[in-house]
Amino acid sequence: MLSIDRSIVDAIVAHARRDHPDEACGVVAGPVGSDTPTRHIPMENSARSMTFYEFDSMEQLRVWREMDDRDEEPVVIYHSHTATEAYPSRTDVSFAGEPGAHYLLVSTREPDTEEIRSFRIVDGVVTEEPVRIVDAVVDPHAVQSYMFGQSPATVDYECSGR
């Protein structure tokens, strides 16, 4: 399960939309061991491609050192697919080098639909996980009352079953 703040998801989706039709990429850092993404860092896609992304190696060194200095780690590594579903490609799997990270994929193929999915990629094995968006803005007309245990401030996205 990835728990991530609504404002960070919004910023990631905005970044992906801005760079569309090229793929966008970035990191969300968080305190080491917390599994909580707190600091959104949009990265440059040095490949500037519609089908490929790559962190600029010098920007990555700077950002990774900065995380180290702040006792942070890359909790989320995200990128967009601009014409296909938000599912890791074989290229994504071969490159996945952070076994502790949540690999978040955003698809911008539909201009009006937010498509985000999260995966663990360890030793070449892809496992989808649910995404919980916290502090979500809930349409007051959508839900009239809340049952015990329900929270109007979170939205859970289950895995889509692939």
Partner: protein, 133 residues
Amino acid sequence: MAIEVRIPTILRSYTGGAKVVEGAGDTLGDLLTDLDSRHAGLKARLVTDAGALHRFVNVYVNDEDVRFLGALDAKLNDGDSVTILPAVAGGAFGFAAAAAISQHRAAAAAISQHRAAAAAIAPRVARSAVAAR
């Protein structure tokens, strides 16, 4: 002659969990051979069978990407700091990715400096794609 080497999480299984190790060598290639004598298997994760630096890692000497310093031939001095990071890359399509890799400036620099690297990159990506299928 001691050179500090920073190891990324994914490779710490080779260093007994250590984040920083020390090694020696006049070039990056020599350093990796030296490290492999104490951390067996580490070099194979960084260098391809064809003897080029692996596509899936970034290696830095102090503040420079070694692809711009001669890759495995990059000269090292006592007190240098070497940092290894997993390259973060991917994308929607495997074949297009291979094309993008060949156009990438860092890869292009490596190719021009290392003819062996040119031969190694494309088959390596193709092999990985097959392995991941």
